[in-house]
C-alpha cells in the first residue's frame, strides 16, 4: 500500500508514515445513495473484523453546530460558507480521521473535500484557489462517485422528504425559475464540475441508478483489493522491523508526538468512533 500523503502543503506536525489505516470516500448528491452504500460497506467491513468509523460533513465538534445554525439564517455568503465548511472538515480530519487512521481503522467518509469544492466552483470560486486551500486534505485510498441523473435525484428526494433541499437546489444563487427547475439546473452544473474533479483526482465513477446491491458489490470488490494490499504491506513492514509476533496488526494507540500542539490534553480517541 502506498503511504498516505496530503494533496498539497500538509498539516503542520503530521507524520503520514504513521497513518496505517485506510481512507475510503463516497461522493454524490443527496439521493445518490451514499448513506445506503456506506451502511452496506460498514456492515461488510465490521463483519470481516475491520475496525471502521464513519465521518460526514457538518459533524465536527468545533463548528458543526454553528454551521448548521448559520445555514438556517439568510446571512451566509459564499466564501464564508466555504471556509466554514473547510474549518469543519479540518477539525474532523485532525481530531477524528487522522487518529483513526493511526489506530489502523478503515475510515468511511460520507462526502469529502470534492463536494465542498464542487459546490463552491458552481458558485463562482476558482478551482485553483480551492485546491490550494484544501491542500492539507489527505489523499484517500479510494473515492467512489455515485453518479445519478438530476431527475432521479429529485424523485428520490421527494420520496424521502417530500421536498427538495434549499442548498441542494442552489436556491442561494438562483431564486427565479422555481425550486424544481433550479434543482435540475444546479445538479446538472454540479455534475459537470464533478466530472472535471473526477479527472483531476482520479476517482471511480459508479452509475448510481443501478440496484443498490450490485453497486455495493462493485465497491466491495475494490475495497477488498485495497485492504489486501494494505495488509500485505503491513506484514512486510512487520517482518523487516521486528521478527516477533505473527498476530494481525492491532490498533496501536495514537502516538502523542505527532499531535498538533494545540490539542494537547484533549482526547482525540473518544471522538473517533461515530459510525
Amino acid at each position: 500500500m502506498r503511504q498516505k500523503r496530503s494533496y498539497g502543503k500538509g498539516l503542520p506536525q503530521m507524520d503520514p508514515s504513521l497513518l496505517k489505516g485506510t481512507l475510503i470516500v463516497i461522493e454524490g448528491s443527496d439521493g445518490a445513495g451514499r448513506s445506503t452504500q456506506i451502511g452496506y460497506l460498514l456492515d461488510w467491513l465490521e463483519r470481516k473484523g475491520y475496525p471502521t468509523t464513519v465521518v460526514g460533513l457538518k459533524r465536527s465538534e468545533l463548528v458543526g453546530e454553528a454551521l448548521n445554525e448559520a445555514m438556517k439564517g439568510n446571512t451566509l455568503t459564499p466564501i464564508t460558507l466555504n471556509l466554514f465548511y473547510a474549518t469543519d472538515f479540518a477539525d474532523q480530519l485532525e481530531r477524528v480521521i487522522i487518529p483513526a487512521l493511526k489506530a489502523g481503522f478503515v475510515v468511511l467518509c460520507d462526502r469529502y473535500i470534492y463536494t465542498l469544492m464542487a459546490r463552491d466552483i458552481v458558485r463562482g470560486s476558482s478551482t485553483d484557489w480551492l485546491k490550494d486551500i484544501y491542500g492539507f486534505a489527505l489523499e484517500p485510498d479510494a473515492v467512489f462517485y455515485l453518479n445519478v441523473g438530476p431527475r432521479i435525484l429529485a424523485e428520490r428526494n421527494f420520496r424521502k422528504k417530500g421536498s427538495l433541499d434549499y442548498w441542494e437546489s442552489g436556491m442561494d444563487i438562483q431564486r427565479w425559475g422555481g425550486m424544481y427547475d433550479n434543482f435540475i439546473k444546479y445538479q446538472t452544473r454540479l455534475h459537470r464540475v464533478f466530472e472535471q474533479l473526477r479527472k483531476d483526482y482520479g476517482f471511480t465513477a459508479i452509475l448510481g441508478s443501478r440496484s443498490p446491491i450490485s453497486i455495493a458489490k462493485e465497491i466491495r470488490a475494490k475495497v477488498e483489493k485495497i485492504l489486501a494490499a494494505a495488509s500485505a504491506a503491513g506484514k512486510a513492514a512487520d517482518r523487516t522491523e521486528k521478527p516477533a509476533p505473527k498476530t494481525e496488526e492491532k490498533a496501536p494507540a495514537p502516538k502523542a508526538e505527532d499531535r498538533s500542539p494545540a490539542d494537547k490534553g484533549s482526547g482525540s480517541e473518544e471522538t473517533s468512533q461515530k459510525g
Partner: protein
C-alpha cells in the same frame, strides 16, 4: 472566489497592524473619531468579531479544540463573513473602511503557530489589499512592558500557551510575541506599509497618520451629504 473588478471600488480601506500593546487600536479609534467628526462616511471593523462565527471560536478556545490549521481556518471564516457582508459592500458603496487588524495578523500569528506562509497567503487571496496599512513599530520589550506591567490574567491563546513554549503564561507570552514580532518584520518587507513610530506621544502618532490619510486619499469624495448624517 468570485472576482471583483478593482475599478468598481470607490471606497478606501485603511488597516492597522502591530503587536499587542503597540497602541494601534487607540490610534485607529482616534482616526475614526476624526473622520466622523469631519463628516466623512466611515465604517470600522475589528478582528475576530463576526456574529456568525464568534461563538464557535469561543467554544474552540475554551474547550481547547483548536489546532494551528483550525485556528487559522476559523479566523479566516470570521474574516470572510465580515469581508463579504461589510468590508467589500461598504467599499463598493464608497465608504472609508477602517480595520483594526487585517490579513497580516493571520499571516503573522498563524505562521508562528506552524501554518505554511504560502498557504496562508492563498487562503486570504480573496481579500483586497488595503489602500493604506499602518504598521506600528516599537521595540519588543516596550510592547511586552505595556501589556505585562499590570500583571493581567493572560488568556490561553493570547499567551500562545497552545504552542507549549513554556508553562508560565508570562514567559510563553514573551516568546510568542517575540516570534510574531519577527514575523511582522518579514511581512512588511513583502507588503507595503506606512510605519508609525509607536514610541512617540499618541497625539504625534495621530497627527502623522492624519497627514498620510489626507495626502493619499481624496477625502472630499467621502463627505456625507448634508442632512444624511444620522
Amino acid at each position: 472566489m468570485p472576482k471583483t473588478n478593482p475599478k468598481e471600488i470607490e471606497g478606501k480601506l485603511i488597516a492597522v497592524e502591530g503587536l499587542d500593546g503597540s497602541g494601534k487600536s487607540t490610534q485607529i479609534r482616534l482616526l475614526k473619531r476624526w473622520l466622523e467628526l469631519e463628516g466623512y462616511k466611515v465604517f470600522f471593523t475589528e478582528w475576530n468579531s463576526s456574529e456568525l462565527v464568534k461563538k464557535a471560536t469561543r467554544k474552540g478556545k475554551k474547550k481547547k479544540l483548536l489546532t494551528p490549521t483550525t485556528f487559522s481556518l476559523i479566523h479566516a471564516t470570521d474574516f470572510a463573513d465580515r469581508y463579504e457582508r461589510q468590508i467589500l459592500p461598504l467599499l463598493k458603496g464608497g465608504y472609508l473602511v477602517l480595520a483594526d487588524r487585517y490579513v497580516y495578523t493571520a499571516f503573522a500569528r498563524d505562521s508562528v503557530r506552524g501554518c505554511d506562509p504560502d498557504w496562508l497567503r492563498k487562503l486570504y487571496k480573496f481579500a483586497r489589499k488595503p489602500d493604506i496599512t499602518f504598521f506600528f513599530e516599537l521595540p519588543l520589550e516596550v510592547a511586552l512592558g505595556r501589556i505585562l506591567e499590570g500583571r493581567p490574567a493572560l488568556k490561553y491563546h493570547e499567551a500562545g500557551m497552545d504552542m507549549g513554549f513554556s508553562k508560565d503564561p508570562y514567559e510563553s507570552f514573551r516568546i510568542f510575541q517575540g516570534r510574531i514580532y519577527e514575523e511582522y518584520g518579514r511581512i512588511f518587507k513583502e507588503f507595503p506599509a506606512e510605519r508609525v513610530n509607536a514610541t512617540q506621544p499618541s497625539e504625534e502618532q495621530q497627527a502623522s497618520m492624519r497627514d498620510i490619510v489626507r495626502k493619499r486619499i481624496d477625502l472630499k469624495r467621502f463627505k456625507l451629504k448634508r442632512g444624511s448624517r444620522p
